[in-house]
């Protein structure tokens, strides 16, 4: 009896394994077949698109029936992929300008398709977001309204779906949608990497200054990582946001405070100097970036604070303080005094950074001579 059970189980497993092997083989064959079909679909789409771009229908608009037929196809992911690939081929073979004109003609079709994809799984919604982000940049004015539909994609979504849809908002210049999306992301408990957000916002095709101010004003509705992304975005813009960020510098709290301190390293603001010195003297984790950004504030009081910071128990504070002091510039007497400091840790760090800077200068001079 026991033998029978064991035999049965083992045979069952072997059967499943062989089925798995067969599935693998079948899948490989199916994939090859799928590739052929995908190519055929792309060719069909291309033919159709070319007819509207440079062929018999180039001066015609879509009829209702044609629109319905195209929406019917595009709501299936495989046809949307073919449509997207065909657009790339047409842009190469004809011109990007003509393809953009065609996309304007397709406006209603794409709008309807966007709504169809709300019902699709997150990975397909992600692809639709990618499609909009890739192709609608040059015709964004005609596609502003689509952002409303794309906002619905955030419900029960994945990180890929969120990222692709945010990318679509950046190229569409959809300020409202971004503001709402960040709010929805917080409400849904999604945490998006701040680097993705800050770099994405720099691709925003609209008034970046206005966007930054709006996002800053509404930041309390966003998740912490989004807030950090927004501050990093502000840091990388040339405009001055000191009046917004200065009050935050005085009340350090959480991860975003590091981003706020770094902002004042890139954007000089005299009013920030005493606050930064205060942070440096606190001798905590915030002193590390403060020691680095004070390199941008050359004054005697900053020098004194940095010299003191060389004796800090925190390794990175000592390192950044030494680097900042040398960036600001020290007289020979000051250098000698620091080289002979009684604090061994301060002395070692200063000597190391001094040596690094000397080598850097030598390399720079060598390259300079080589170029001239």
């Amino acid at each position: 009896m026991r033998q029978d059970i064991v035999n049965m189980v083992v045979y069952l497993y072997i059967f499943i394994c062989i089925a798995l092997l067969l599935f693998n083989i079948a899948y490989i064959l199916y994939s090859k077949r799928k590739e052929i079909h995908a190519k055929k679909r792309m060719e069909q789409m291309k033919k159709r698109q070319l007819a509207y771009i440079s062929g018999e229908f180039q001066n015609k608009e879509f009829t209702k029936r044609e629109k319905r037929a195209l929406v019917g196809k595009l709501k299936k992911i495989r046809y949307l992929i073919a449509f997207e690939e065909a657009l790339n081929v047409c842009a190469e073979e004809v011109s990007l300008k003509k393809v953009n004109e065609y996309l304007v003609k397709c406006r209603e079709v794409i709008y309807e398709t966007a709504l169809e994809y709300v019902k699709r799984p997150a990975m397909e919604r992600a692809y639709f977001g990618y499609f909009i982000a890739t192709h609608m940049g040059d015709v964004s004015k005609k596609y502003q309204g689509i952002a409303e539909s794309l906002l619905l994609y955030f419900a029960d979504s994945t990180v890929y779906c969120q990222e692709n849809v945010l990318q679509a908002f950046y190229v569409l210049g959809a300020e409202d949608a971004l503001d709402q999306a960040f709010g929805v992301m917080k409400d849904s408990g999604y945490r998006h990497q701040y680097r993705l957000i800050s770099d994405g916002l720099l691709r925003f095709r609209g008034n970046q200054y206005e966007l930054a101010v709006r996002l800053w004003n509404n930041r309390r509705r966003y998740e912490e990582s989004t807030r950090i992304g927004v501050i990093q975005f502000m840091t990388r813009l040339s405009e001055d946001f000191s009046e917004y960020l200065l009050p935050e510098l005085a009340a350090l709290e959480g991860e975003e405070s590091f981003a706020v301190i770094r902002y004042f390293g890139s954007h000089h603001c005299q009013k920030a100097e005493p606050v930064l010195i205060g942070i440096l003297q606190q001798q905590d984790e915030f002193s590390v970036p403060a020691a680095a950004v004070l390199a941008n504030y050359p004054s005697e009081s900053v020098k004194d604070a940095l010299k003191q910071a060389l004796n800090s128990p925190l390794w990175y504070v000592r390192k950044n303080a030494a680097t900042s002091l040398l960036t600001i510039g020290l007289s020979k007497k000051e250098q000698e005094s620091l080289k002979n400091s009684e604090d061994r840790y301060a002395r070692e760090m200063f000597l190391y950074v001094l040596e690094l800077q000397r080598k850097e200068r030598e390399r720079y001079d060598k390259n300079d001579r080589g170029n001239s």
């Binding site: 497993y13 993705l196 070692e348």
Partner: protein, 468 residues
């Protein structure tokens, strides 16, 4: 008396049946889940469900090296050309007796510096520090007193300047996109504190500028069988354990870690032979004990090509070290076993590693002993036993071959018909003979344990361009 022995043997029989059925089910589940996950990943990649970004965050690559003069220059050279914007390389020469440091200093024109190191983690004393000048990627060589791999990695962590670090073996090579791939789980979820990469056998490939330009199974049988074994383990078992954050091992050959968590958890243990596993178990414990939300992920698309031992002698040294490392880690962290607080890590993962990795050679040996006694008492059904063994071997072989081809397919590698034939034969040989050899090595690993428990043993290295 005889009746009692027969009764005992019956109980033992039942134990073995249950033991094997659980293992067979585990193998099956791991291959099915592994195959399904890889299929989904491939599909997602096709429809642009991936994070595409030019720059993620800076990474420090730590390369502990002990007597690695044969491969070190080539390995570091390959690390210099990775497709990643900002990273540094720190080679820690763990008191090598050969020319490891001299070769690096000469080849990369390194200069002696007087650099203070922040001692966040305890490690042996620094002898000298060298740095490169003007290279695209900053290279640091730290020469220190011998203290073992864990000690070297702790030194590397102390000297690293970036928030994440990757540890890699000195004889391993990364594909150009490996760093980009291994950071993906962190970009997707910033609770990720460690990511393991996929380790594959370097002797199978030709690598040019970080790209695989050819793949073939080596003629060395031992290496071939390790190829099958690695594929089954990394493509099946680890993907399954990854589903419930239950991986207890990130190979020391290639893994990414969040530095502040590792420092808080106490860094690498320098007293164990399995410092890679010990660290991962400790991260689990540290995060659970401190209620830190975390995930430890496995990324099968981040690939590291590592040299597999080519001789039985070297293989024995490697596997002895692995098995003792496993033993030390499980004994050291026995307090997580079946504790509610540690969830599936303390139950499923721990028990799996205990019963099916650490104790399996002893259980199998016990099985052979029981068989002999059963024959003696005439209670063994020999035809059944033979057919059962053959079926079981066939079953394992089918799973191995499935995992092997799954990988070939998902990585778009082209292999010859000869290699297909080789793989078919070897998957059977691996499950019948290689397994026994491995069991023997693992059982005898404990011989002389007290005397040699800290010894790594050296393994013959071959220059990477002479591998295939």
């Amino acid at each position: 008396m005889t009746r009692t022995i027969v009764a005992i043997l019956s109980v033992i029989n039942i134990f073995f049946l249950i033991y094997l059925l659980i293992y067979a089910t585990y193998l099956f589940a791991s291959v099915v889940v592994g195959a399904w996950k890889l299929y989904c990943q491939e599909k997602m990649r096709q429809i642009k469900n991936e994070i595409r970004h030019e720059y993620y965050f800076p990474i420090s690559i730590l390369v502990p090296a002990y007597n690695e003069e044969v491969t070190i220059v080539e390995s570091v050279e390959s690390l210099m050309n990775l497709d990643y914007k900002l990273y540094e390389i720190i080679v820690v020469d763990d008191g090598s007796k050969d020319d490891t440091a001299a070769k690096l200093i000469k080849h990369f024109d390194l200069h002696l510096v007087d650099r203070p190191i922040r001692k966040s983690l305890p490690c042996k004393e620094v002898k000298e520090i060298y740095e490169s000048e003007g290279e695209k990627v900053k290279l640091t060589l730290i020469r220190k007193k011998n203290g073992g791999k864990g000690d070297s990695l702790n030194m590397g962590i102390n000297a690293s300047q970036y928030p994440y670090f990757v540890c890699i073996d000195a004889d391993s090579m990364l594909q150009r996109d490996s760093l980009k791939r291994i950071v993906q789980p962190v970009m997707e979820d910033d609770k990720t504190v460690a990511v393991g990469g996929l380790i594959r056998v370097a002797q199978c490939i030709m690598l040019e500028k970080g790209e695989v330009v050819g793949y073939r199974l080596p003629w060395n049988m031992l290496m071939c069988m390790q190829v099958m074994e690695y594929d089954r383990s990394f493509l099946a078992s680890r993907i399954l354990l990854d589903q419930f954050n239950g991986n207890l091992i990130i190979s020391g050959a290639f893994g990414l870690f969040k530095k502040d968590i590792i420092i808080s958890a106490g860094g690498y243990d320098c007293t164990t032979l399995g410092e890679d596993m010990e660290l991962v178990v400790r991260i689990h414990k540290y995060c659970k004990n401190n209620q830190i939300p975390y995930t430890i992920r496995y990324e099968p698309n981040a690939i590291c090509w590592s040299q597999a031992p080519g001789s039985l002698k070297d293989l024995r040294k490697q596997r002895r070290r692995w098995h003792l490392g496993l033993f030390q880690s499980l004994v050291h962290h026995r307090d997580i076993c079946l504790k509610n607080r540690f969830g599936s890590v303390g139950s499923l993962s721990y028990l799996y590693y205990l019963l099916y990795e650490l104790m399996s050679p002893f259980i199998e040996l016990f099985g052979w002993g029981t068989m002999i006694i059963s024959v003696f008492f005439g209670v063994l059904n020999v035809p059944f036993m033979i057919s059962f063994y053959l079926l079981y071997a066939l079953y394992c072989a089918v799973l191995s071959i499935t995992a092997f081809f799954q990988r070939i397919y998902t990585q778009n590698l082209k292999i010859s018909r000869l290699d297909v034939a080789k793989a078919m034969v070897l998957c059977v040989v691996e499950n019948v003979f290689f397994r026994m050899v491995m069991d023997f090595i693992r059982v005898t690993a404990f011989v002389g344990y007290r005397k040699k428990k800290g010894e790594w043993g050296s393994i013959k290295r071959v220059k990477n361009d002479e591998l295939s």
